[in-house]
Every structure is written in structure tokens, then in C-alpha cells.
């Protein structure tokens, strides 16, 4: 058993399970949180993540295969994806390559949303690109089922913010490429509705952009 990443919510362990190399995603107790609150959150998210990953897969989106869900220990056993986090690739790839990746990401987000799936935590840490340049969506723990404009917009708002803070030099390009792919799936009318709502979400904060 090898710890390959200690994430915010869970430990990712590389394990052999039924003669397969698998990832064991273990939502360990958070000692900062009240035990009863902690247990409720971990169990809820474990179940929901497994359900959402499965549903995303049903509509053709690349996610790790789920092999086993242990609700009692808040653990999911899933396929081991070999690849890099987009966070790393974004700093080392050519602009041309990134353009096609980000347009593709926009397309996939569009497909998720059209299927009523909200990812809930879209960051460049939660997208894995494998050696064949296939894009895997991981970490659906904050996800939910929703058809609402608000939820879709929050999903993209969080991604926009994550790009602006982590990849601020290229963020405007990344964001526009994502929207380009997104509008291919949801249509230009829906896409501009989402864009408007993203601006209004930003305006709800106490201090808003002067731009």
C-alpha cells in the first residue's frame, strides 16, 4: 500500500486488489471537525461521488471505473489512471496543445451539464490527462445532480476562479477556450446565459470587480 497523494478530502493509496493495481480513495476522519458532522459528510460524499462517477461514465465521460464502495469506512476502490494533473501540464505544454485540451474540457463540461451532472470542484488539480491525451474527470465529492442554471454557472465560476488564481498569465485564453467547447454542446444561447449568470455570481460578493 503506497500513499500517492494526500488530498484535501482523502488519501489516495495505490493498492493491489483482485490482482489489479487500483486506487483506494479513503476519506479519513478530519480531527478538526466535530466527529458527528465529520462522519455524516464523509459518508454522504463517498456515496455521492461513486454515484456521480458512474452516471458520468454512462454518458460517455472518461472517469475512473468504480470497483467497490465501502460506505462504512468512506472508501472507494477505483481504477488507477496513469497521467498528469492538468495543473502541471498547463505550465509545460505548448499553447496549441493547451488550446485543444481546454476546448475538449469545455465540451466535456457541456456534456456533463446536459446530462444533469454538476462536478462541484472543477480545478486543474481534478483533471487528469493520460499519455494518449485523453481527459479524465476525477473528484466528484462535491458534485450533485441538477439541471439549474445557477448550479451550472457556479460550476464554471469556480473553474474560472481557479484558472485566474493558479494560471493567471494564460487564464483568459484558457477560459475562452473552455467556453468555446462548452457552447458547442449547450448552444450559444445557453452558453451566454451561463456567462451572464457567472458575472452576477461574482457581483454577489462584498467587493466586486471595478473592471
Amino acid at each position: 500500500m503506497v500513499l500517492i497523494k494526500k488530498g484535501a478530502e482523502a488519501e489516495l493509496l495505490l493498492e493491489t486488489w483482485c490482482e489489479k493495481k487500483v486506487i483506494m480513495k479513503k476519506r479519513t476522519p478530519k480531527s478538526y471537525r466535530l466527529p458527528e458532522l465529520d462522519l455524516k459528510l464523509r459518508q454522504y460524499r463517498t456515496v455521492h461521488e461513486a454515484i456521480l462517477i458512474h452516471q458520468a461514465k454512462l454518458v460517455g465521460i472518461l472517469t475512473p471505473l468504480i470497483y467497490f464502495v465501502d460506505t462504512k469506512n468512506s472508501t472507494i476502490i477505483m481504477e488507477y489512471i496513469i497521467g498528469k494533473q492538468l495543473k502541471e501540464l498547463a505550465n509545460e505544454s505548448s499553447k496549441l496543445k493547451l488550446k485543444s485540451i481546454f476546448i475538449q474540457i469545455g465540451i466535456i463540461i457541456g456534456e456533463l451539464h446536459t446530462s444533469g451532472i454538476i462536478h462541484g470542484d472543477l480545478t486543474t488539480s481534478n483533471l487528469i490527462i493520460d499519455p494518449q491525451n485523453r481527459i479524465f474527470f476525477i473528484d466528484f465529492g462535491l458534485g450533485k445532480k441538477s439541471e439549474e442554471l445557477e448550479e451550472r454557472s457556479v460550476d464554471l465560476f469556480l473553474l474560472k476562479r481557479s484558472l485566474n488564481s493558479t494560471h493567471y498569465l494564460l487564464a483568459p485564453f484558457f477560459y475562452n477556450w473552455i467556453l468555446k467547447g462548452y457552447s458547442k454542446i449547450v448552444g450559444t444561447k445557453n452558453c451566454s446565459e451561463v456567462k451572464r449568470r457567472i458575472e452576477s455570481i461574482a457581483d454577489r460578493g462584498r467587493y466586486t470587480s471595478s473592471e
Binding site: L34, L37, L41, R204, R206, S209
Partner: protein, 335 residues
């Protein structure tokens, strides 16, 4: 030419909300004096901008006088004047800016505009020794998780509606507690025994507190025990922020976390963040209690840093910016 031996001395004026603060800080890092006068709204009320501004203009002269007299400095030996130019309440900002402009003109010294929240961060870095931390800023005006990178404070997460300070103050006001309510809620929470289920909303690295406020107020009206509610409100709202911080920390992989701003005085919050941070083998820093609230020193110290980088404004152009976003501030000393 600069004489290397002589330290620069900055007088800073804080006036964004309930506190009018004046402080003298030297470039060798000493806080020479720090005085404040605080406006207290009547029980059951929040800050009234015009009344707060009125309070500040009545107390400005004495606060300034106390600060200077206790410092062993004459006004003439001060090298620059810094003031909080935003964000905050318009009338209150104008009061502080007027005092700063008058001093700058009269003494013929450079005038330096400072972003209030950058002041919280820089003073906290200076007092704790944090270098380049993931920043958790919690106050009446901000609930933000950010970090410096490329001359800006990049925001990784924040509240999507009301701030943590606001959540506590509004709940406190409705529960009949004095403003600011954080310290009273913390005290009552210690007596709470039963956890009441409340909405826990984390969106990525963001939090949303408006639903939590509505639900907690509804439970209050239903006659739930106030100590239990304070306890549960703290547990849920602080856990949400700690979780969002944990997400940001594993995303950007820094080795320090710094807690600053008024709500940093809450020991339950800082304990939660400390536990989480140490669990990720990072170092945790929290601003000393006496400097967590708004104060002149946060403006004066940041004024020192800004003056070294040549930041200043012409008096004619020294506008206040009531809704100045933290990620729009250019920070040349953090290049």
C-alpha cells in the same frame, strides 16, 4: 541620498469601518505607538455609516494627539503618511482620507494609499514571521483564501455571499448580543452541548454563508437553546472555512498558512485551522490577538513597505475606493 542608518517612519491612519486608528511604525519593524477609537452601535443595531463617520471625525484629533505624544516623535520627523483608501464604508473612508490628506499637505510628506486587507496580511506576516503563506483573511469585510503571486494577492476561494464576520454579527444582533458579536458567540458556544444540524455549504474552495444564517435564525425563532446554536453555528461555519482552506492548500501546495483579520481572535477557529495545517505538514501562523482587529499599525507598516517601492499618490488624486477588490491591488514589494 538615503542615510542607511536612519529608519523611515510612517504614520498610518485606519478608517474603513468601526475603528479609527492611528499608528506610528518604523522601517526597522517597531510599532512605536498604536491608538484607536472604536464606534459602538447601540444594542440590536449594526454599523450606521454616517454615525460611524461622525464618531471618527469627533475622535480623530484626540486619537492622533495621543498617538504622537506617546511616541517621542515630533510630527516633523515622520517621513510619510499612509491611509486606508478602501475597501470600506464611503463616509468612514472619507473621514480617514481627509485627516491623512491634511497631514500630508501640512507636513509636505508623501501620501500613500493602502488596501485595508493587504494591511491585515502584511502586519500579520511581519508579526508572525510568515514568509509566503496561504492566507486566510476573516473579518467583517472579508472571508478570503489567497496567496501572493506575481505582484498580486490571488484569490483561491472566498465567500460567495456574506462574510464570516457578518454571519456572526447578524446572528448575534438577532440574538440580542452586542456588536461585534464574535467574542460573545465564542463564550456562549463553550457552554453548548448539543449539536444542531445546520446547512454545510462548500463549493470548491468557496463557502456560502447566507443559507446557514437563514437556517440558524429560523432555529433561534423556534426556541432552540442559544448556547447550542452558538456552538453549532461555530462548528459548521468554521469547519466549512477550514475545509475550503484545506482544498486550497493541497491545490497550491504551500508550506505555511496564516490566519488574520478580526475573526482570527476566535480560538476555536484558529485551533481548527492549526490542526488541519499541521496535518499537511505545513506551519501555522495566527496574528496576535491585540493586532487582529482593525488598527493603524496595519496601515502604517504596509505604508513602510509601499514607500520602499515608491507607491504614493498625489493629494488631488487620493480617491477612496469603497469596493476595492483585494486581487486588483498592485503589490510591487511582493514581486
Amino acid at each position: 541620498m538615503h542615510n542607511k542608518k536612519k529608519a523611515t517612519v510612517c504614520l498610518g491612519i485606519e478608517s474603513t469601518a468601526h475603528t479609527f486608528g492611528v499608528s506610528i511604525v518604523s522601517s526597522d519593524g517597531r510599532i512605536i505607538s498604536d491608538y484607536k477609537s472604536v464606534y459602538h452601535p447601540p444594542l440590536g443595531k449594526g454599523i450606521h455609516p454616517r454615525e460611524a463617520a461622525q464618531h471618527h471625525s469627533e475622535h480623530a484629533a484626540n486619537t492622533l494627539k495621543d498617538c504622537i505624544q506617546s511616541s517621542d516623535f515630533s510630527l516633523n520627523s515622520i517621513d510619510c503618511i499612509a491611509f486606508s483608501s478602501g475597501p470600506g464604508l464611503g463616509p468612514v473612508l472619507r473621514t480617514g482620507a481627509s485627516v491623512a490628506r491634511a497631514l500630508a499637505i501640512w507636513l509636505n510628506k508623501p501620501l500613500i494609499p493602502i488596501h485595508h486587507a493587504i494591511g491585515h496580511i502584511e502586519l500579520a506576516c511581519k508579526l508572525t514571521g510568515a514568509h509566503n503563506p496561504l492566507i486566510v483573511l476573516v473579518s467583517g469585510g472579508h472571508t478570503m483564501i489567497g496567496a501572493y503571486s506575481g505582484r498580486k494577492c490571488r484569490v483561491f476561494g472566498e465567500t460567495e455571499d456574506i462574510t464570516l464576520g457578518n454571519l456572526l454579527d447578524v446572528f448575534g444582533r438577532e440574538a440580542g448580543l452586542l456588536f461585534p458579536s464574535g467574542p460573545y458567540i465564542e463564550k456562549l458556544a463553550k457552554e453548548g452541548k448539543n449539536f444542531i444540524d445546520l446547512p454545510y455549504v462548500v463549493k470548491g474552495n468557496d463557502v456560502s454563508y447566507s443559507g446557514l444564517l437563514t437556517a440558524t435564525l429560523a432555529k433561534l425563532k423556534d426556541g432552540n437553546n442559544l448556547t447550542d446554536l452558538c456552538f453549532s453555528l461555530q462548528e459548521v461555519s468554521f469547519s466549512m472555512l477550514t475545509e475550503a482552506t484545506e482544498r486550497a492548500l493541497t491545490h497550491i501546495e504551500r508550506d505555511e498558512v496564516l490566519l488574520t483579520g478580526g475573526v482570527a481572535a476566535n480560538s476555536r477557529l484558529s485551533n481548527m485551522l492549526r490542526t488541519m495545517t499541521e496535518d499537511h505538514n505545513a506551519k501555522f501562523f495566527v496574528v496576535p490577538r491585540e493586532y487582529c482587529g482593525d488598527c493603524g499599525a496595519q496601515i502604517a507598516w504596509t505604508g513602510i513597505l509601499a514607500s520602499k517601492s515608491g507607491v504614493m499618490t498625489d493629494v488631488n488624486e487620493s480617491y477612496i475606493i469603497p469596493r476595492w477588490r483585494i486581487d486588483e491591488v498592485d503589490i510591487p514589494w511582493r514581486d
